[in-house]
């Protein structure tokens, strides 16, 4: 992998390509959304082929204060999801803990000139001075990209929203918090349907929460949600209005020999993603990534160890809260490879066909133009080879939680705290 780019920002909290891969959206802790655009290949400047540049920046969410509970509502963007493009404008959903917003991003490259009632600088003309009528003319102007909020979906979540997912019908989407999942219509903001509710009548009995949810990419009646106990439930919205009873229940039996007090915590699923084909889904727990066949509920078909060397460090990772870090995972466009992040600014890619895996580091050095990313290795045994890094030297503050893969090309976006790295395969 060559040719990296690095953009500095506030702490990035979500990264998402749109359906064509032309646009890449990032959300950050300060409630801002920054959208990058893939530059078109140009004969005059071939070296710019495939570069991503800032396309639009806007403030999506502001901090709020819940007066009832005397608590702040963070403006951090938890998730961004693009809508499929239907016209010249682009639409995306962005959400913080409580409120989802639909944003329209549109280009303006023309301006009307020659108004009758206004001067060019906008001042009203004296009506008595107007002696003739003219038709305003559209004149080209510098490209301006505007973002405007079109819908605000608020007040539907008591708990913190962790997922949003656009349905394949392109009309509805779901939003999930710790205990409930709601179904929305994109046009309607004052109502949503609650389709999953796992809140116990007695909160004392709460032992499990929803950690992620996603709509099936092709079947608009199917969605899945994962839990903090390492289970995934697939639900069919045709079966009942309230999908508390699942259609399928995915759980891998625990290995009794590796049981510890941390077993449950590390089994908690932090992300679930359907493959593009819709045949598989992938889940990320603390130490591994698992690929599930939707037709087989009792165990995953593939398991990949992300950083097994951390298993002996779980107590320390519990103490400093790292064990609760929520890593995401993603598929490449053809579903042949998967990627997820780790610590020390490492991220891992697994080829499902060859079973090869690679560890790479997102760093300034690696993102210089025409630099090739060098594979990294963490040494687990006693002897550390040259170029290897020992487990105890890993920087646990440098974590890559959010990664995204271009839907068609070999381009990846990796968020390392407050830096965004974009890497591409160059085939020259």
């Amino acid at each position: 992998i060559e040719q990296g780019l690095c953009f500095a920002a506030d702490i990035i909290s979500t990264v998402e390509f749109n359906y064509s891969g032309e646009l890449l959206a990032t959300g950050d802790k300060g409630g801002r959304v920054v959208i990058f655009q893939h530059e078109q290949e140009s004969k005059n400047r071939p070296h710019l082929r495939g570069e991503y540049n800032v396309y639009s920046t806007f403030q999506s969410h502001e901090p709020e204060f819940d007066y009832l509970k005397s608590l702040e509502i963070e403006e951090k963007i938890n998730k961004i999801r693009w809508l499929p493009q239907q016209n010249a404008a682009h639409f995306l959903l962005s959400t913080n803990d409580k409120t989802i917003k639909l944003w329209k991003i549109s280009e303006r490259d023309k301006r009307a000139e020659g108004y009758n009632l206004k001067d060019e600088d906008g001042r009203l003309r004296d009506p008595f001075r107007i002696t003739s009528l003219r038709v305003p003319v559209l004149m080209p102007m510098d490209l301006m990209v505007e973002a405007s909020p079109r819908r605000i979906f608020a007040n539907a979540h008591t708990y913190h929203i962790n997922s949003i997912s656009v349905n394949s019908d392109h009309e509805t989407y779901l939003s999930a918090d710790d205990l409930r999942i709601n179904l929305w219509h994109l046009e309607i903001t004052d109502r949503s349907f609650n389709i999953v509710d796992i809140k116990p009548a007695n909160m004392e009995e709460l032992t499990e929460v929803i950690t992620a949810a996603e709509c099936h990419p092709h079947q608009c009646n199917v969605f899945v949600y994962s839990s903090s106990k390492g289970t995934i439930r697939l639900c069919d919205m045709r079966a009942a209005a309230l999908c508390d009873r699942h259609s399928k229940f995915f759980e891998e039996p625990e290995d009794p020999s590796s049981r510890s007090f941390f077993s449950e915590i590390i089994s908690s699923i932090s992300d679930v993603k359907f493959s593009h084909s819709g045949r598989y889904m992938m889940t990320r727990d603390y130490l591994s990534v698992k690929v599930w066949d939707l037709n087989m509920e009792n165990r995953p078909v593939e398991t990949y160890q992300v950083h097994e060397y951390l298993r002996s460090k779980l107590c320390s990772l519990y103490e400093n809260d790292c064990i609760f870090d929520k890593f995401e995972c993603c598929w490449n466009g053809s579903d042949s490879a998967i990627m997820t992040g780790s610590y020390n600014n490492f991220f891992r890619m697994f080829d499902r066909n060859t079973r090869r895996d690679i560890t790479l580091e997102a760093s300034r050095e690696s993102s210089k133009p025409r630099a090739t990313l060098k594979p990294r290795k963490v040494s687990t045994g006693g002897k550390r080879k040259k170029d290897e890094i020992s487990v105890d030297s890993l920087d646990f503050n440098k974590k890559i939680l959010h990664t995204a893969w271009h839907p068609k090309e070999n381009v990846i976006a990796v968020a390392a705290t407050n830096n965004l790295y974009i890497f591409q395969d160059k085939i020259n």
Binding site: K69, L71, I73, F261, E264, S316, E319, N320, D392, D395
Partner: protein, 306 residues
């Protein structure tokens, strides 16, 4: 990562009895695996750590529910195991008998908010629904109730009295009722999911009752209920079993700062550290036991923000 000789814990308790290089005293020979000193210490430390984490869930922003649930489940697991070992009984007994509350990690009824109504409801604590009662499990518990004066009752439990489950000392954090209830507006009123009883560890001497009044008063008026039950390491434990349990602790074992590079995550520990001179690194060290409840009050005031 951990100090010499301390075997990596938790992952395989079955190995413990056979572990060599154990710095602790000779494990009770015929005892079950879990009574191995090293394992018990580690388990205790994990319990302490978890309870701190649950306590300090209150910051400016709503706490992470998933994290709280996972921590609470971990505490439950530990409690279950300790109950089966019988060590739970030992611990609660020692705490009830101990005189000095101070300096230590306050466990339990989490600092999350508790409505005054619930606090004064004076209802008996709900049986801890998840853990339930173990057969043949006795314990003593100090229960404070009432809103006017302090009635301190010691109750000796038998399995037949589920109402005052001794496990209920931990009902607070397990329910993490207040913490999670926070989020649910429609259930705030009249829903006594929080632990109405303010369990107190056993500072029962007469001279300290006044202080406990103060304690109670603070928790009633304040929004947060500071844990009144402490897991601590008494300076002179009357119980030989307990003494054995804690006799050979290496404080640096708990210095987890050294484990990972970079600064340890600040926040909750910062708070605790600033409140008392004993940070999480002194979890089980045999520091001198400061017997003044005033210290505790002072800490409470800081946390309550009065």
């Amino acid at each position: 990562m951990f100090t010499k000789g301390t075997k990596r814990k938790f992952s395989d308790p079955g190995e413990e009895p056979a572990s060599s290089g154990d710095p602790g005293p000779a494990a009770p020979s015929a005892a079950a695996r879990t009574l191995s000193s090293s394992y018990s210490l580690q388990r205790q430390s994990l319990l302490d750590m978890s309870l701190i984490k649950l306590q300090l869930c209150h910051m400016l922003v709503e706490p992470n529910l998933c994290r709280s649930v996972l921590i609470a489940n971990t505490v439950r697991q530990i409690q279950e195991e300790m109950t089966q070992d019988g060590t739970w009984h030992i611990m609660t007994q020692a705490l009830a008998a101990a005189q000095c509350p101070a300096d230590r990690l306050v466990a339990t009824e989490v600092l999350c908010r508790q409505t005054d109504a619930a606090a004064q409801a004076g209802q008996s604590p709900k049986p801890f629904s998840v853990v339930g009662l173990q057969e043949g499990y006795h314990s003593e518990e100090v229960v404070m109730e009432g809103d006017v004066e302090t009635e301190v009752t010691m109750s000796s439990l038998s399995p037949l009295s589920p109402q005052l489950s001794s496990a209920s000392y931990l009902t607070g954090p397990f329910e993490v009722g207040p913490c999670w209830e926070e989020e649910d507006e429609e259930e705030e009123e009249g829903d006594c999911e929080e632990n109405e009883e303010e369990d107190s560890e056993g500072c029962l001497s007469d001279g300290e009752e006044r202080d406990q009044d103060h304690l109670n008063a603070d928790s009633r008026t304040g929004e947060k209920v500071f844990g009144t039950f402490e897991i601590k390491h008494p300076a002179s434990p009357p119980d030989p079993a307990l003494e054995e349990l804690f006799s050979d602790v290496d404080p640096s074992y708990y210095d987890l700062d050294t484990v990972l590079t970079g600064t340890p995550k600040m926040g909750p520990y910062d708070l605790l550290e600033s409140l008392s001179s004993h940070g999480p690194t002194a979890l089980s060290s045999s520091s001198s036991c400061r017997s003044d409840l005033n210290e505790l009050d002072h800490i409470m005031e800081i946390i309550v923000g009065s």
